[in-house]
Amino acid sequence: MKHTGAKITLALIACAIFAGLLPVAWLGLGEGEKALDAYTLRVIAFTLWQALLSTAISALLGVAAAFALARRQFWGRAVLVRLLALPMALPAIVVVLGIIGIFGAEGPLAGLLPLYGLTGILLAHVFFNAPLVARLTLSALGTIPPEQLRLAAQLGFSDGAHLRHVDWPVLRQALPGALLLVFLLCAASFTIVLTLGGGPQATTLEVAIYQALRFDFDPARATLLALVQIVLCGLLGLGVLRFSSPIQAQDALRLARHRYDGQSMTARLQDILFISLLVVLLLPPLAALVASGIMSLSIQTAFFTALATSLVLASATAIFACTLAWVMATGPARVSTLASQAGLILPPAVIATGWFILASKGPGLSPVALPLIAALNSLMALPFAYGALAPALRRLLKSHDRLCDSLEISGWNRLRRIDLPSAKAPLSLGLAMAALVSLGDLSAILFFGSGQYVTLPALIYQQMGSYRMEGAMGTALILALLSFTLLWAAERGSERHA
């Protein structure tokens, strides 16, 4: 029997997904067009509109900033390039608080922007995604052969010719996948829209599903919205998968090679402008978070309970997601890779809706809440855990196969003595990535926690809701530090073992 473990795992994932999708399809299709009313249409329109705007702004700023970073040498450039990786490690709720710390009622720039509504959502989405686009663009520019950059300099290419002949061919490969990914992330965004959205005018499908299910107790509407969401994100997700695998491309970040273009005054001014914009986008929210977080650190019982719940869930998610990823890495590559991406393509709210309906028909929610949260977190974390673990693990296992066969080392012995010790680096990175997803998650905990279980993000959300902003800032700072330490330790660990 070949790939037995992998097949069982894949079947398990398929079951989990179908348990989410079937009730949604069943109830949602039963509703028919009846529920496709003005409200639903408005939610769909807003979901697409804000995702389109977020993607356009992130693309413009991200690509322009990447060019500036690629062709300018300046003090702090390396730091800024590293800083681009930072938003991905930050829980959304933390960034939301940072932005509120600047533009909110108490912030230094209060009243400058209408924060709650489209503007706030765009600002937060661009905070996350412009650096992502910049990273992906930089790593694409890094694949240009150095000879071609020199050739362009020797042949006296104008910046336009440089863009057309040298940069565009690699950007054309990288950008469509990257921009579709950004659009998908923005269309399925939950935390940011929940906290910065302004009522029914600024609600996305993901948030509307949550509200229909948990506030209006209207499973019919929830399933219908979920059905729309699954079609939308499914199509986008398939588009992302068609263009390479952007999640794996991120570790290929190198400082771009020496370039000779962009010597004109316009190009210089443009680069200065976009680097400044990037700095202005990234630094103030972080500074606000640190400043007001330190001022308002108040450690109470609620905090420790939330910390404990977060750590338990993060550990369970890390172990579960990495076990899945490990077993899948031993299986057929194409199917496993596709299955691992399910958590990216299928929005958590959709799966949560199905599980929620099944659970409330069966044992009720509260006995199974924690396992459900951990399971949903694992599904959400799987693309990242798999991306960090599988490619390296596949190579390792392949290189061990013959030797282990000839020495008759197999089963538990091989796992314990050979495979696990040699996979320490990718495994620790995979564990950390999965734990990060769980630590920052607000959707699974809100869907299933019912106030009975409160994690750090849920605590922050509660504190925001009851206008205890200082408390929320303090908790957010600790959550941010926790996430950083985790990622930093994992990256150090994987560099040491690499």
Binding site: R150, L151, A153
Partner: protein
Amino acid sequence: MLELRDVIFRYPGLVMRFNFHMERGSFTAIIGPSGGGKSTLLSLIAGFETPQSGTISIAGRDVTHEPPSQRPLSMIFQDNNLFAHLDIFTNVALGVSPSLKLDEAQRQAVTDAIMKVGLAGKEKRKPGELSGGERQRAAIARVLVRDRPLLLLDEPFTALGPALRQDMLELLKSLHDERGLTTLMVTHHPEDASTAASHVAFLADGEIKAYRKTKNMFRAKNMPGLAAYLGNTPRSP
């Protein structure tokens, strides 16, 4: 034709100093161990790197601080000389005008150059559809239309087989003579130097240790570095 005077370039782990003079019309092969600074020397001359001090002049003009496109030279690399998404005609035409605005005479010059290197009929092919040797021929065609007096080559034929390398060297030599070029070629193969070069420079540890006529260089007995590099002396165990 080419003169480097007290050129100093610091690289992590190696300081390079170049004093070097090359006559118009000479064909010089640069040999020497890897990491000795051969490619860096070409990069300095072409303007891809700027020296910390010293002057580089080409045809009597100080070009030390001129951008690469202003220097009277062309360069061919080992690989990636062509833009993969453009056909051969367009790749060669970039040597005439980077904006690709060509008049009739210029178009004719491009076609002639392509014919001269033996690629007639392959103008519409993409680089990916050509062999490695044909791609280097296209790069040579672009050098012809650019028509600059100094030609730099960085291991241009290393990836090719022995017979093909011989053909390419002969093509290069004939164009060098016909156009009155001054040519500087980094190579890994000392026999390339014997085939085509009038002079050989031996470069090691960031310095030109010797610069002589080809036949004198390979007869030299009193150069331990060169002997070790060429491998024709017994080495101590």
